[in-house]
């Protein structure tokens, strides 16, 4: 087993307990998704106030909701097409909220350089999701590139808890650019393989 695989297994124990509780209380997964967004907005406020440790804890709680909604939906047999759509949309709002919190902080500190770096990281993070969504309307699957949402979340947590948010913004920004490029190249290659397919 790999190191990251082991960490994932260890984290699953408390999460399974929370999932079981939500299932027992029959909490609708769409509500869990929305609560996750509200908590992420609170985390963004903490980031904007420069209180990174507090933001880290709030993000941790928010991401528990983000993670469990799909599992709860499965266990409650409440999986729906709208649920998937709702989850994706709310995830984007959560992503943007955290970046906006940081942009507010850096602009308050008069750091235009990091306002730009964070804004670009936000732009490419959103484009990462968009390119995959758009690609998968044309091809079967487009799961290439390293910097997806779980990686961004973990990096935000690391940046907040260890006060290394600037380095984290560089990593998210650069790797998101690569991820978007990967998805464009991959989609181009896949579509080139079926030249007769005309897409509006």
């Amino acid at each position: 087993m790999t190191l990251t695989g082991l960490i994932g297994r260890i984290c699953m124990f408390p999460l399974q307990l929370i999932i079981s509780t939500c299932v027992a209380l029959k909490i609708h997964p769409n509500i869990l998704t929305f609560v996750g967004l509200l908590i992420n907005v609170a985390a963004a406020c903490a980031l904007g106030a420069g209180r990174f440790i507090l933001a880290g804890f709030i993000m941790g709680v928010a991401n528990i909701f983000d993670f469990i909604d799909g599992k709860v939906a499965h266990e409650l047999n409440a999986v729906s097409v709208f649920g998937g759509f709702w989850d994706s949309v709310i995830d984007r709002f959560s992503d943007i909220a955290l970046f906006v919190g940081l942009i507010y902080l850096y602009s308050r500190l008069g750091r235009t350089d990091y306002v730009m770096i964070t804004a670009l990281a936000m732009m490419f993070a959103i484009m990462t999701s968009y390119t995959r969504a758009r690609a998968e309307s044309l091809i079967t699957k487009c799961k290439v590139g390293f910097m997806e949402r779980p990686e961004r979340i973990v990096l935000f947590l690391i940046g907040a808890f260890t006060n290394r948010m600037a380095a984290v913004m560089w990593v998210i920004g650069v790797l998101s650019v690569f991820t978007v490029a990967d998805r464009i190249i991959y989609t181009y290659r896949e579509l080139r393989a079926v030249p007769d397919k005309v897409v509006a």
């Binding site: 790999t2 990251t4 994932g8 779980p150 260890t162 290394r164 380095a167």
Partner: protein, 65 residues
């Protein structure tokens, strides 16, 4: 990727054009590289608005000097 490409070029290409799943040794290696950058790069080098100091790398460099 062309088979004739040298090993460093292939490594760089595979790191750029990422197709590995999570929980693979390649993924672990990338995670270690990212964490090394985040934790070892001195905040002063990045002009970090919220952190300062030389960090572990700066500390090591000052030990060498």
């Amino acid at each position: 990727m062309n088979r004739a490409a040298t090993l460093p070029v292939r490594i760089l290409w595979n790191a750029f054009f990422w197709t590995y799943e999570r929980a693979t040794w390649q993924y672990d290696l990338m995670v270690i590289a990212i964490l090394a950058f985040v934790w070892l790069t001195p905040p002063d080098w990045l002009n970090d608005p919220m952190a300062s100091g030389q960090g572990p790398v700066g500390w090591l460099l000052s030990m060498i000097d």
